[in-house]
Symmetry: C2
Subunit: 178 residues, 2 copies
């Protein structure tokens, strides 16, 4: 199977540092051309499922502009320019929860939108996490740190209580991994 080729690329919108929109001209394997294909460029992000030494899951209850009401959430944030995704994951865990962890597993990296790009999600599982510092979050949203049992996380995933796609995804992947 042959992949599609980008033969032209025009910047339509630039809202640094969060979003660029391009219009791509694409050539299909059979020679046909697609014009004006929307392509989104946004920062990669990480999400971390953090398990404490006591086997609790570090989560938040928070508001989020794109979500109605409150939602459960894992640790997460954008990867800074030039930053390694694992380093970003460790940084966000420490900033948002005050915890560090000695054991880290990669739960995969996934293109957010198969058609339009829109960045890549990098997922991690942190185990044996322990409190190491004060919380130093720079997030604008209100959030409350929770320590959930595995049974509580399983029930929350079954009812879709992590209302944002990458959050529900990383929680499900962590339950399948560990």
């Amino acid at each position: 199977m042959e992949t599609w080729k980008t033969i032209d690329c025009k910047l339509l919108l630039d809202m640094p540092p969060y979003l660029k929109v391009e219009a791509h001209t694409i050539q299909l394997p059979d020679g046909r051309k697609l014009e004006n294909w929307p392509w989104l460029i946004s920062p990669d992000f990480i999400n971390v499922v953090a398990l404490t030494r006591e086997g609790e899951y570090l989560c938040f209850r928070q508001t989020k502009y794109g979500v109605q009401g409150t939602t459960l959430a894992p640790v997460g944030g954008y990867v800074d320019a030039g930053e390694d995704p694992l380093a970003a994951a460790k940084r966000e865990l420490l900033e948002e929860t005050g915890y560090e962890a000695p054991h880290w597993e990669n739960l995969g990296q996934f293109r957010v939108d198969g058609n339009r790009g829109n960045g890549t999600a990098h997922f991690f599982l942190a185990r044996e996490a322990y409190p190491a510092a004060e919380i130093d979050a720079d997030d604008l949203e209100e959030q409350v740190l929770l320590k959930l049992s595995r049974a509580e996380v399983e029930a929350a995933v079954q009812r879709g209580a992590f209302k944002v796609l990458p959050w529900q995804a990383v929680m499900a992947l962590a339950l399948l991994r560990w």
Copy 2:
């Protein structure tokens, strides 16, 4: 916890039917204002994990513009304007695989981007699927229909072989549900 309020909204880019970009002015609960917040409007989509009467998972190997190389994929597609997500799921299952199914479960609906919107993913599990028609897919990508065992799907999810975020998510959720 109070959610953020949209107090102004300006259309920056319109690429029908796939994408609108708006700049929102947002008021935070503490009274501060955020200007020029990027907000993406794109069609909702469905993904379906379809299990045959024989317990096989209907998947594809395919190319996708936003993905390097080939990827595994579930049934999926955009919800048409005014269409019910479950109806879209049944339509896409029939078009893409030629299968119908008597048993459908909702695996949840999730905001794609908690900050920027960008549509909602609607996930379904279809069971006892059986061949009912010829394949009638209108997708531009090359794809090959596969019937995978549960063990093959579990291994594929563990290695991140569904390379697109909603696809990996729906497969993981199906494994946790059934």
